[in-house]
């Protein structure tokens, strides 16, 4: 088992955002987490890094209890996040952002990894010296993904990578997820509003509602499930709650 959350609760002050979440990701899997706005998807992702820290329950990564570790220690265990809103460093160049992603990686891998990212996202190669804050939204998203991959993570977390992107970019990003998983054996946990795409690329999925897992199953099962269809597919996203 790569990642296992058991009965995880999380709070923001008085707001109780996660109510005992159980979730598991196996090595080599793509798992997706869907749910309406405010369901707690981003909170779940961030709670893996203790931001906010799980107030109850346990988080096991790669056989180790990481519930109480500081964020940088958790990341060093091999978890990389493409966060909601990208959070690239706007006043650094594209190259510097990628170097930041590789800050704790083996420096001898840097050149190989950089080439790989440039092959994956040719635009980043062309824009190496450009300030990241001046990239377009889609380009910034690619940079955020590339930055996460530069650390060669065991587990890649993606929080709404397709948000606000043109269909062409969305297609490209889902293709990338598939390639990374199939050809490089990357384990992925994917949060998406775009349930249709997400469930097609994922082996398994979970549905989160008001901070609770209300449904789980294989991607195919969830795609066919009437609840999921009604809440997340036909009427568009955001009406589940």
């Amino acid at each position: 088992m790569m990642l296992e959350l058991s009965a995880v609760h999380a709070h923001y002050g008085h707001i109780h955002a996660l109510h005992g979440v159980d979730l598991a990701v196996q090595v080599g899997e793509v798992v997706t987490l869907i749910g309406a706005n405010g369901a707690g998807k981003s909170t779940l992702m961030m709670s893996l890094f203790g931001q906010p820290r799980a107030s109850m329950g346990r988080i096991i990564f790669d056989g180790e209890d990481i519930t109480a570790l500081p964020a940088h220690e958790i990341s060093r265990r091999g978890i990389a996040l493409v966060p909601e809103g990208r959070r690239i460093f706007p006043r650094m160049t594209v190259m510097e952002n990628l170097q930041m992603g590789a800050a704790l990686a083996d420096p001898t891998n840097f050149d190989v990894d950089l080439k790989r990212m440039c092959a994956l996202f040719p635009i980043l190669d062309e824009r190496q010296g450009q300030r990241a804050g001046t990239l377009s939204g889609g380009e910034q998203q690619m940079l955020a993904i590339a930055r996460a991959l530069m650390s060669r993570p065991k587990l890649l977390l993606l929080d709404e990578p397709s948000l606000g992107l043109a269909p062409l970019y969305i297609k490209k990003i889902f293709q990338t997820i598939r390639t990374l998983n199939r050809d490089h054996g990357m384990t992925v946990l994917l949060v998406e509003q775009n349930a249709h795409h997400a469930l097609r690329v994922a082996h398994r999925g979970y549905v989160l509602q008001h901070g609770r897992i209300v449904l789980s199953g294989s991607g195919r099962e969830l795609l066919a499930s009437p609840e999921v269809r009604a809440a997340y597919l036909e009427g568009g996203a955001g009406k589940g709650d």
Binding site: F49, Q51, P70, A71, H72, S75, R76, A80, L81, P83, R87, F89, P90, R91, M92, E96, Q99, M100, G101, A103, L104, G133, R147, S151
Partner: protein, 304 residues
Amino acid sequence: MALALQQLINGLTLGAVYGLIAIGYTMVYGIIGMINFAHGDIYMVSAFISVTAFTLLAALGVSSVPLALVTVLLVSVLFTSVYGWAVERTAYRPLRGSTRLAPLISAIGMSIFLQNMVQLTQGARVKPIPPVLVGGFDLLTVDGFTVHLAYSQLLIVVVTVFLMAAFTYLLSQTSFGRQQRACEQDRLMTSLLGINVDRTISLTFMLGAMLAAVAGVLVTVYYGVVDFYIGFVVGIKAFTAAVLGGIGSFPGAMLGGVLIGLIEAFWSAYLAPEYKDVATFAILILVLMFRPSGLLGRPEVEKV
């Protein structure tokens, strides 16, 4: 004309010192968004450490000027950076994540503590040191006025220029510099990339303290005296320099320092010397009123 040249030399010397100290304010502000009001006192502590070290070396019979200077610089930088580290650790880190005002008050408390500590242990009187670096060059004489460049002034400018170049390289080209800048832009994201943000902040405080330490040693050599109050006066001037240049901006701190130094020197020579501190404070108020982002700073509002 000769007087103007002399004031240019004096102003640049002073400005270099203000600039070195201003960098500490600016770097700390850049990374955690607070004004470290104890920074001026860190500089004062360093001046006292260097007085003690110079006196000890003189008592031991060390007569080589370069040897004495290098030794004192090393000792002072070492002790002062430990002070910088300890101040952050005890007064600011426990308050991280609380209101913006809390660390500010803590900083003022730390400043009072450091002043009183030095006053208690070193006495309230002005402390002199044995002369270290005397003499200089007479550059030219016009109408009986001789323009003088003291060796100590030359030393201050050369050391400052060297440190500026070294820090520019450190911040823009090394992985530590990148991490430092990343923390300035997004601390949480930086920690998610595996970087120990607390450690980066500690190092930033230590680097700022190191520059203040160098300034403390240089000023001790230049003036030959220190007292426990210089931290406040020089601290406010360096702070003004940082604000004038644009707080958070590294080149801004240096530019602000030089400008404040020059303004002070020329004001003293041509206007009323007794009002030179007023000039600095007037600048601080004017900048805060009309251009709070300073000469080279970024405006607060920014598209991300």
